[in-house]
């Protein structure tokens, strides 16, 4: 993927995090609004699945950007990118499992 596409997705996920993260915060910290949000657990699970995906992409890409800036070398850049991608996918798989258990889908 081109670096410009990666960074464009970085900004898209930033906006997604702001929206889904706000829903996550309200659900857990505001007694009134939280009850309304958690009333439909399937929708809230969808929100958390999107939140987790966007957050992991944004966080791991942020770490990747800092790392490849610290080690400006073509070969290292390639390996860092692959390592971050694999760790990110594995974390998403585990995180989705945890979410399903926590929200009563498994």
């Amino acid at each position: 993927m081109r670096e410009s596409t990666v960074m464009f997705l970085h900004y898209i996920t930033a906006i997604l995090i702001a929206i889904t993260g706000l829903i996550h915060l309200l659900a857990n910290n505001d007694p009134g609004i939280g009850a309304v949000i958690k009333a439909n657990s399937a929708l809230y699970f969808g929100n958390m699945a999107i939140f987790l995906a966007a957050l992991l992409y944004h966080a791991f890409n942020g770490v990747r950007v800092i790392l490849i800036e610290m080690v400006p070398d073509k070969c290292w850049t390639k390996w860092i990118s692959w390592a971050v991608l694999i760790v990110g996918i594995v974390t998403y798989a585990v995180g989705l499992q945890v979410l399903m258990v926590a929200l009563g889908f498994a």
């Binding site: 900004y11 910290n29 007694p31 800036e69």
Partner: protein, 140 residues
């Protein structure tokens, strides 16, 4: 031309490393915001890893308020960065008349973008602190 390529080669090596983030003297306030954005980003990643590892972990009360400052700064400054990326409130490039003229972000419309981001940061941080220090203890 020769000097320019040497310049580029030097910067491509990134000799300063992390200390380069804090080389903010003689730059604009955006340079400080950039350094703070990186620091808060790394801190948020550390919190998120702990939050995942021990599901739903939180530092608690005053530390939660501090977490709010970190997260809301990253959010507010991130909104500023996205607006600038999309070309909002960037302003026209200024004609540099003399060597002492200051960069566009000091004299141009971009100044308002920084003010907007900082005001948004204070408002969001205050709301977060209210929830962390008042609402959460009541919820138990």
């Amino acid at each position: 031309m020769e000097a320019e390529s040497e310049f580029k080669e030097y910067y491509a090596k990134n000799m300063r490393g992390i200390s380069g983030w804090f080389k903010a003297r003689a730059y604009t306030i955006e340079r400080w915001l950039y350094a703070a954005h990186r620091i808060t980003g790394i801190l948020i990643v550390l919190f998120v890893l702990a939050h995942f590892y021990s599901t739903g972990w939180h530092p608690g009360l005053w530390w939660d308020a501090l977490l709010g400052i970190i997260v809301t700064f990253h959010t507010a400054n991130g909104i500023r960065l996205i607006l600038a990326e999309l070309g909002f409130a960037v302003g026209k490039p200024l004609l540099v008349k003399k060597p002492s003229q200051r960069p566009v972000s000091i004299e141009g419309v971009q100044r308002y973008l920084v003010v907007f981001a900082l005001v948004l940061f204070f408002v969001l941080a205050a709301i977060w602190a209210y929830y962390a220090l008042v609402v959460q203890p009541m919820m138990g």
